[in-house]
């Protein structure tokens, strides 16, 4: 077996621009997923508010119970039937963001519920209204506890983003496949792509570890 990486070197510009697109899409989906996930997680804190709780639970069930690829195809091929034509790039961001939000929401809910009950009681006893207590006392503590699980979710998102290549988006996966189609060097190119994803996930892990360490300094929870 002889490996020939020259198509990878020759196509480095395309791979680099694909990597940038992957980062852009993942980062945008991440922001969307976190915001949406926060709302849905908060919405599922109180089962007594049946409408909000019901809507959020339905969202969770639908998104977690179906494949991401199918969701992406519904956005990309399905929505145009209703006259909604989103650019592929947008479909990628929305699809990944919506998917990720479901998982983020469970992380948010779990870490909020892991903050001791006494914290909310102490805040309310000082006279802080519920929302303010949530924002000033509960969420900052919950956030630190979320980081490890959010990190795993970010990494899953980076890897899952390879699926958007199927929506004609020129991400690193897509660029790699274009190189393969002219060079027939599939093993080498896939190895190169795997390496690029590995770099992205490793850097993410590193940044998150640092962040958590800083946030946990000084004997804070």
């Amino acid at each position: 077996m002889n490996l020939d990486f020259s198509p990878v070197w020759e196509g480095w510009r395309a791979l680099a621009s694909g990597t940038l697109i992957t980062i852009e899409i993942t980062a945008s989906a991440l922001v969307l997923g976190c915001l949406l996930g926060l709302l849905i997680g908060l919405g599922r804190l109180n089962p007594k508010r049946t409408v909000i709780y019901g809507l959020c639970t339905t969202y969770l069930t639908l998104i977690r119970g179906t494949p991401l690829l199918v969701q992406l195809f519904i956005l990309f091929f399905g929505l145009p039937h209703f006259g909604i034509q989103l650019p592929a790039y947008m479909c990628g961001i929305f699809g990944l963001g919506i998917y990720s939000a479901a998982y983020v929401s469970e992380i948010v809910r779990g870490s909020i519920q892991s903050v001791e009950k006494g914290q909310m009681e102490a805040a309310r006893s000082l006279g802080l209204p519920h929302k303010l207590a949530m924002r000033k006392v509960i969420l900052p503590q919950a956030f630190v506890r979320m980081i490890p699980a959010l990190g795993n979710e970010f990494i899953a998102l980076i890897k899952n983003s390879a699926l958007v290549s199927l929506l004609t988006i020129a991400d690193v996966m897509h660029e790699g496949e274009k190189i393969i189609s002219v060079s027939y060097r599939s093993l080498e190119v896939y190895l190169a792509i795997a390496f690029i994803y590995l770099m992205l996930t490793s850097i993410t892990t590193l940044i998150l570890r640092r962040t958590e360490k800083v946030l946990r300094a000084d004997g804070r929870v």
Binding site: E116, G118, Q119, E121, A122, A123, R124, S125, L126, G127, L128, P129, H130, L132, K136, V137, P140, Q141, V144, D218, G219, R220, V221
Partner: protein, 257 residues
């Protein structure tokens, strides 16, 4: 004695179908120190937590600091409860300091958010309160680095920062190592001497004897007896009080303070 700060008429409270408070009638006058004692599960915490609306009652009437918290079994609105709570300080057994904020910010959070105080104003006041509880030098550290006694003193300062009309304490020294109990009781004594109105659930009988104006004995969700300590500890009227005191006093013969 001045006007009643807390006035309770026929208060009842259940968790599900388990009735925890039975028809309690009691009032707290300005500057009074009330100590509540009684066996575990007798409803002391629940009684105390009703006074700042942390527990909802479904029978009777409870007025505190000019607010009608419960009227004929109906709770006041959440929003009015917030106003009430800002005038009632609460200190918990487990301190419940905010671990993500340093000591000073634990204290300034509520006054800045609710009283519209500037940071400078709130911090100056906070430092004075820390000085009062002997912890000015700890203003910048995080609660995780403090001893239990120090945590509880910060918690007291945090409650005082809202300039409450009454302070509620739920077993403030029960989670502390014995050698740290004294420093917290000392702070509470100072408050009592300054005329702070206080309701204190505690097992510290020495403290009750020394500081309380009225000692309330609770059992099975009802007030068994309420009397000044001199009377209650030397000549209890009720058999249940005698039995409880015997149990407690034989258990901790060790001196307090």
């Amino acid at each position: 004695m001045g006007a009643a700060i807390i006035d309770i008429q026929n208060l009842s409270k259940s968790f599900g179908n388990h009735q925890v408070l039975h028809d309690i009638t009691f009032s707290v006058q300005a500057s009074q120190v009330i100590v509540v004692i009684g066996p575990s599960g007798s409803g002391k915490s629940t009684f105390l937590r009703c006074m700042n609306g942390l527990e909802t009652a479904e029978g009777g009437t409870l007025r505190a600091c000019g607010h009608t918290v419960v009227e004929q079994g109906r709770m006041m609105s959440e929003k009015n409860l917030d106003a009430l709570r800002s005038e009632v300080g609460m200190v918990f057994q487990s301190f419940n300091l905010f671990p993500h904020l340093n000591v000073l910010h634990n204290i300034t959070l509520a006054p800045m958010a609710l009283r519209g105080k500037s940071r400078q104003e709130a911090e100056e006041h906070g430092l004075r309160l820390l000085d009062k509880v002997g912890l000015k030098h700890k203003a910048q550290v995080f609660p995780g680095t403090l001893s239990g006694g120090q945590k509880q003193r910060v918690a007291i300062a945090r409650a005082l920062a809202m300039e409450p009309k009454v302070m509620l304490f739920d077993e403030p020294t029960s989670a502390l190592d014995p050698e740290l109990v004294g420093e917290v009781l000392q702070v509470m004594k100072t408050l009592a001497n300054e005329g702070m109105t206080m309701v204190i659930v505690t097992h510290e009988m020495g403290f009750a004897r020394e500081v309380a104006d009225v000692v309330v004995v609770m059992d099975q969700g009802a007030i068994v007896e309420a009397a000044p300590p001199a009377q209650l500890f030397t000549a209890p009227q009720e058999a249940r009080t005698r039995r409880f005191l015997q149990n407690v006093l034989s258990r901790d013969a060790a001196p307090v303070l």
